[in-house]
Symmetry: C2
Subunit: 191 residues, 2 copies
């Protein structure tokens, strides 16, 4: 539970009362692997903060091909921002990859937090700024780097996550087919 308070304390200072109010607005839940937290075609109602376990978000295009938007491990927030903001049906799935303890913050409670503790505007602004920066970097990487270089960046960003998830999901994240990823990985091992 302290993980999320630490996460908040990095950016804003809450009084004890504010902490209590915040805690009253969230819910801790345990989800098993393969649980779907949000679905393409439906309105996303929550933000999720991962206490433990692994979660991913991805979309599926016409072809049945999955593309991973992001992974979230302990200490990360995850949601379908488009759907959450617009309250229209989104096109992301959010799925638990490894049994997880997750803090659920509903959209309504988030709005209430903004009203009751305006500092949370700042907190979430900073969170989103950081996501935006990370996302812009990833976009540029996809425009200018080779698959090998993108894999290297993935490794730096996610550390040992690579050994906890099926490798076809790493392929999907860096934007290549599982077959090509397998070939590439072997090429790298032989060096």
């Amino acid at each position: 539970m302290s993980l999320i308070l630490q996460n908040i304390a990095k950016h804003i200072a809450l009084t004890v009362k504010e902490q209590e109010l915040f805690l009253s607005k969230i819910e801790i839940q345990h989800f098993n692997s393969k649980t779907i937290l949000a679905q393409s075609g439906q309105v996303c109602k929550n933000s999720y903060f991962v206490n433990s376990g692994i979660v991913r978000s991805f979309n599926i295009n016409d072809n049945i091909v999955e593309h991973i938007m992001t992974f979230a491990c302990a200490g990360w927030w995850i949601s379908d921002m488009y759907s959450l903001i617009s309250q229209k049906p989104g096109d992301l799935f959010i799925e638990v990859l490894e049994d997880a303890e997750i803090i659920v913050l509903s959209k309504e409670n988030q709005e209430i937090l903004y009203q009751e503790i305006p500092k949370f505007e700042r907190f979430f602004r900073i969170l989103i700024e950081n996501s935006l920066v990370a996302n812009q970097e990833r976009l540029m990487d996809n425009l200018s780097l080779s698959a090998e270089e993108r894999f290297e960046k993935f490794q730096n960003k996610y550390g040992d996550l690579q050994h906890k998830i099926p490798q076809k999901q790493i392929a999907s994240y860096i934007g290549v087919t599982p077959e090509f990823f397998s070939k590439m990985k072997n090429r790298l091992l032989k060096r």
Copy 2:
């Protein structure tokens, strides 16, 4: 001048006094085409709001290849978010493509606005949320769509901008070489 007040009014309501305070914190400047507003390797000190004209941000990788992050036309904000937030040297250039009237908001004044009119936390949070969503969509498009489809999306997003800028910059935005773009365009015309 009213353009930026409209832009703000879309998300937060300011009193007349607050409007005046805001206006005292910004500066209107006119820049000619080719002016560089921010440079790779330097700390970005401002956010820019385009009143008229066209601006772009891009980076240059080892090879001398440019990759366009975004275009900004009248009514759009543009900056190097990474550098602006972290106040470390960035890797984007921001350049005027067509003579422009631009509102300059310095990082310091932006921080002052947050303090004096906390509603601005909300305003910029919403702006950044929208950028994040747009950026995530573009990332997914780059992972899953062909060059042709990405061009179509560019056209939908930027309308007649395509006739105001050199076509090699469209190529750079969608992530192909100018040669390939030229070929592709002719293929499309022949349909």
